[in-house]
Symmetry: C2
């Protein structure tokens, strides 16, 4: 069993209106120290072991469904779990 | 300057319909190894240094705006950056 953590973020060059809204809210709430906010997605997947290389599978899932490679970057971490 | 990474996830006991939808899509696409998907938020904040403790500030921001403590958990990482 693998536990996979996937982080999807907007590319630097892409505007992040959600992040801008959160930044404005934080400033309004009195957090003047906030300089920038960028918002992304965080996903946790549990995968069963298969014959296929897990890195290859995860990369393909990220590119086909979990992220939009045109405007987003992704990175992932894979942990192997021992069955309990 | 601090770079803060905030991870917000739904509590274990809370249903995640978005995660279920992604799991179903992945299965339909041929990734039968997928057992579970949980979807959360990932935020990157840049904060200026202030007199206040940065951990205290970030914790308060998470509790007041960035997460909904009733249904979500959060964790964060703080990195101190040297001005370039």
């Amino acid at each position: 069993m693998y536990k996979v953590k996937v982080y999807v973020t907007l590319r630097e060059s892409v505007l992040d209106p959600q992040g801008t809204a959160v930044k404005k809210s934080l400033k309004t709430m009195g957090y003047g120290a906030v300089e920038d906010v960028r918002i992304g997605k965080y996903m946790e997947l549990s995968l069963e072991k298969t014959d296929r290389d897990v890195h290859e599978t995860v990369k393909e899932m990220c590119e086909r469904l979990l992220s939009n490679p045109v405007i987003e970057d992704y990175r992932y971490e894979i942990e192997e779990c021992v069955a309990q």
